[in-house]
């Protein structure tokens, strides 16, 4: 009755008032979101043990979105509005892809602890474009041989030739990511990963096919880690501390080697978006991740462990032992760069990987 008794104008006014209130609420929510930090990340950054100290210290919320693979990450950015994202975790070798798209903001070198980084992982070749630094390496490790030392002869794991020997036939899993494993195949045939060209593809393919013939499975992160942890396989091609360190407490028999031919160095970087609405907060986040405390938490993230790029990372002695921190100078000296092919060679490498997967 009350409603029907009101005149149309007052009804319209009340609706307008409701609409205004809703709009104000939405704007307030928008403003609240703008004060948050929006981060495109890999799974190791979603660990609450890593994020919560930053959130509490700055009284902000870090909204994270996980992705796998640079292509997928850049697709998310393409589908977003400028300013939606503040920071991004990206393969160090792919920083130039983001720069080419005009996504990233140069980082202030004087406000970040570059002097404390392992010099070998600064990755200037890819993180510096036209004299400006767009990415800072936050974590690194090796795609090498992960193995169960109670099931294989650790001496054999000092040579990549063991991966294709009959002795370990059916005991091997291959990590399903074409670039690092192609890098390992290159090392096995005596090629430098940084110098790979199209002419090397036939020899690389032959080596990959030999690895596949010895392998029980080719698995992504979880599958390959599970296979090694459950004893389905004894060796993981492409494995390293990122597979074995996190499982060290439950399964101390898991280990990794840097064979005499070398290993492939992987590294991940943090970059800031040019259109970020919170550049100050984004920089604070990067500074936190690069701080000794942030580095220790990132290195031991529940998703996967890896070496902190900051030498001053506040790791415990036990954690350093698991990560083989003190052996890093020797490892880094023998490690080779992650393959960084141009678009055309990248496509050919992926097609070669497809052929390997389909080979019976």
């Amino acid at each position: 009755m009350t409603i029907t008794a009101r005149n149309p104008l007052s009804t319209l006014k009340s609706h307008l008032a409701a609409a205004c209130a809703t709009a104000a609420l939405l704007l307030a929510a928008g403003a609240a979101e703008a004060a948050d930090l929006n981060a495109l990340i890999w799974c190791d950054h979603s660990d609450p043990a890593l994020l919560e100290p930053f959130e509490k210290a700055n009284d902000v919320k870090v909204n994270v979105k996980e992705f796998e693979g640079t292509g997928a990450g850049l697709a998310i950015v393409d589908q977003s509005q400028p300013g939606d994202w503040d920071v991004m975790v990206i393969d160090s070798i792919d920083v130039p892809r983001g720069v080419e798209k005009g996504l990233f903001e140069p980082l202030p070198e004087d406000k970040l602890p570059f002097a404390d980084l392992f010099s070998e992982v600064k990755m200037d070749k890819s993180t510096v474009v036209d004299g400006k630094r767009y990415g800072i390496t936050e974590k690194f490790g090796y795609n090498t041989i992960g193995f169960n030392k109670t099931k294989v002869d650790p001496a054999d794991m000092q040579s990549l030739a063991s991966l294709i020997s009959d002795k370990y036939k059916g005991k091997v899993a291959i990590y399903d990511y074409y670039l690092p494993v192609i890098g390992m195949a290159a090392l096995a045939i005596g090629k430098k990963t940084a110098d790979l060209t199209e002419a090397d593809l036939p020899a690389l393919k032959a080596e990959l096919l030999k690895m596949k013939a010895n392998a029980k499975l080719v698995g992504e992160v979880t599958a390959s880690q599970t296979a090694l942890a459950t004893g389905e396989v004894d060796i993981l091609v492409g494995g390293g501390e990122w597979v074995t360190a996190g499982l060290a407490k439950e399964n101390p028999a898991l280990d990794f080697s840097i064979p005499k031919e070398g290993a492939v160095l992987w590294s991940q970087s943090l970059a800031m978006f040019k259109d970020s609405k919170n550049k100050d907060l984004a920089l604070k986040f990067i500074q936190y991740i690069m701080s000794p405390e942030g580095q220790a938490r990132l290195a031991t993230s529940s998703c996967y462990w890896g070496m902190p790029s900051n030498k001053k990372a506040a790791l415990t002695d036990e954690q350093k032992k698991i990560l083989r921190f003190d052996e890093q100078p020797g490892f880094l000296a023998r490690a080779q760069a992650y393959p960084a092919p141009n678009a055309d060679l990248d496509k050919k490498m992926q097609d070669m990987w497809t052929e390997m997967l389909q080979a019976q």
Binding site: G71, A72, V218, D344, T354, L357
Partner: protein, 281 residues
């Protein structure tokens, strides 16, 4: 009168508009966008048929489609062979009052996560899994068999899921079948086997075909089961599609492969629709 007539004509359109709008927004427009994308070069963005030609000229790409069709065919046939007797027992031999409970128990695995179910199979089929331990324990085999990370594992995971689906469609069909058909066949001198082959089976074919079509569509487009259980020892089409996106973000090639996958589903639908005359229903 004319207003009423117009209203009468407009009503069906008004009722169907939400469904049409939904289909247009969430199927037709994305499909057109995917079609355009599939004809675009990844580098440079110009028009190209290269994404399709790559599929038809590269044996490893072509092989993915063959693998998909082989796996789907095997899964569909095995699922039908297992689901039909199961549905028959439920419909004909389980007392009416227990049927609802029996059906619920039959579809119980549907209640668990698809990913968890696939990983569970991985543990069952693993080298140290339940099956290998049982077989070695009773001395039937000396060395564990490689069951996980094979096509066998992929098929097993699929069959476990699709038997439930087919059981439901066949059971519904069997329950709709009037007992008088069987009585008439018996009156005409047909034995149980002849009655089944010439009366019951043909009349339950629609249930089988609907279930088989759903199995085909869901199986050929599934990424999770082959990814977890197949061990990447061979690729099927959805895995090939996903590969293009991960690092390189090659959406044009992924779109082309998706359209080829969709063409296969369309062919399967046309085959089923024509045979069952679904369009007349």
């Amino acid at each position: 009168m004319s207003v009423t007539g117009n209203n009468a004509r407009a009503l069906p359109w008004a009722l169907v508009t939400p469904a049409l709008a939904w289909t247009l927004l969430f199927f037709v427009l994305p499909f057109i966008a995917m079609g355009f994308s599939s004809l675009t070069a990844h580098e440079g963005g110009g028009f190209t048929l290269g994404n399709y030609s790559q599929f038809f000229t590269d044996p490893s790409y072509w092989r993915a489609m063959v693998n998909s069709l082989e796996v789907t065919a095997v899964v569909t046939v095995i699922s039908i062979l297992l689901a039909y007797p199961f549905a028959w027992i439920l419909a004909e031999m389980v007392p009416e009052r227990w049927q609802r409970l029996a059906l619920m128990l039959a579809v119980l695995p549907f209640w668990t996560s698809y990913v968890v179910r696939s990983y569970s199979w991985l543990l069952v089929l693993a080298q140290n899994g339940v099956i290998n331990r049982a077989l070695t324990g009773i001395g039937l085999i000396g060395e564990p068999l490689q069951l996980a990370n094979t096509r066998f594992a992929t098929v097993t995971g699929f069959v476990h899921f699709f038997v439930m689906l087919l059981t439901l469609t066949i059971f519904a069909n069997l329950k709709q079948l009037s007992p008088s058909y069987r009585k008439a066949a018996a009156d005409l001198g047909a034995g149980p086997i002849r009655t089944f082959l010439h009366v019951v089976l043909p009349l339950t074919l629609p249930g089988i075909m609907v279930g088989a079509f759903l199995t085909f569509v869901l199986c050929i487009g599934d990424y999770i089961t082959p990814q977890i259980l197949g061990g990447n020892n061979e690729l099927v089409m959805p895995q090939l599609v996903m590969m293009q996106i991960g690092r390189r973000g090659d959406f044009p090639l992924a779109s082309a492969l998706s359209i080829i996958l969709m063409a296969l589903v369309t062919i399967a639908y046309l085959a089923c629709a024509r045979w069952l005359k679904i369009e007349r229903a």
